[in-house]
Symmetry: C2
Subunit: 221 residues, 2 copies
Amino acid sequence: LKLSLVLAESALELVPEEVASSPDVASDSRRRGKKAREILLDRSFHQGAMATLEEGMKRGRPDLVHVALLSVTSTPLYLEGLVDVYVHTSRDIVIRLKPKTRLTKSYVRFRGLAEQVLAERPNGGLLSVSQGSLRGLLRSVRPDWVCGLSTQGKQSSFERVGMDLSGRKNPCVVVGGFPQGHFAQDTLKAFDALLRVHPMPLDAHVVVSRVIYEVEKHLND
Amino acid sequence: LKLSLVLAESALELVPEEVASSPDVASDSRRRGKKAREILLDRSFHQGAMATLEEGMKRGRPDLVHVALLSVTSTPLYLEGLVDVYVHTSRDIVIRLKPKTRLTKSYVRFRGLAEQVLAERPNGGLLSVSQGSLRGLLRSVRPDWVCGLSTQGKQSSFERVGMDLSGRKNPCVVVGGFPQGHFAQDTLKAFDALLRVHPMPLDAHVVVSRVIYEVEKHLND
């Protein structure tokens, strides 16, 4: 098995041009001693600016992306090299983690790292970055099954999704990397199945950690 | 069921007197505009200072504590009010989360909150703080079973621990809130059982999220 895990339409981006000169971005930029366009858009600090952004509710949550990534990269399945992890952002940038990379648990370090790679777009190393849509990413990964998880999906469970994923050669599971709202139409078109794993809406990191765990369990059965 | 979950000997504390005037603490304190004794001890920034501290390897990891707490507080079991969460620190302070509290995913906000409650020690609210040992905490919680999880424990599994916990009325599971090393002798004496849930050593947040998930599964069976 080689599982691809994609956080899709993730709320991770540098401050966009439209709000770079807004008061809360400017004061955050001064405090941190970095240019406005070189810091992560973050709802915790840029609430005023975010209110004016298109699709603002789905953006500016680097904390959420960090925690979701940690909940994959600390698992035995990932540490054994059986999971490839991709962050696709709402601005159509794709970040690929080098397999088996242990991500820093320090958010402050993660923020510095994310700001650096989003600005420099390195083609290799720990995190490699390229411009591209989710569908473009899937064309290059060529999974034998693409399963999106959403509260809008057909009722299923972590067990069943884990079983279905573990029975394939190179399946792909896609989880939303945003705090609320739903996948865009274009994203939905990329899925072979759209499933709902729990009656409650759950945070991305909970979904990701339970899916990985169920895949591990089925592989060991 | 009412499950108590304790992060024990957690690496969460304000900068202690001994290293308050060390160069890396002083520069962090200046940058953040807070007194040295009012900021969290953090290995990411205070590496030099930490090297001189007693038991330094087990201390100064507020990031780890935050991620472990998030992996409980986002679960259905917790959100339904069936888990009481406590952080016992290596300095014998006990922080109790108000049941069903959703903790901020923003590390920067969490840090501010932790610094405030460790300094002010509020007796109620979102987080209440008191001085006390793990054994003192357990005397007030009065669990019907205390299960510590450790690589030094007897071989078991997440499934079995989840089953054992879910079969009790008010069990307590204790996970180390530190990056490496083992529970102190005094902590070990508080356990009815010491179990090992996985062949690999795992991060606290992975252990916690899997235990909670298995308890949920057994309750729903």
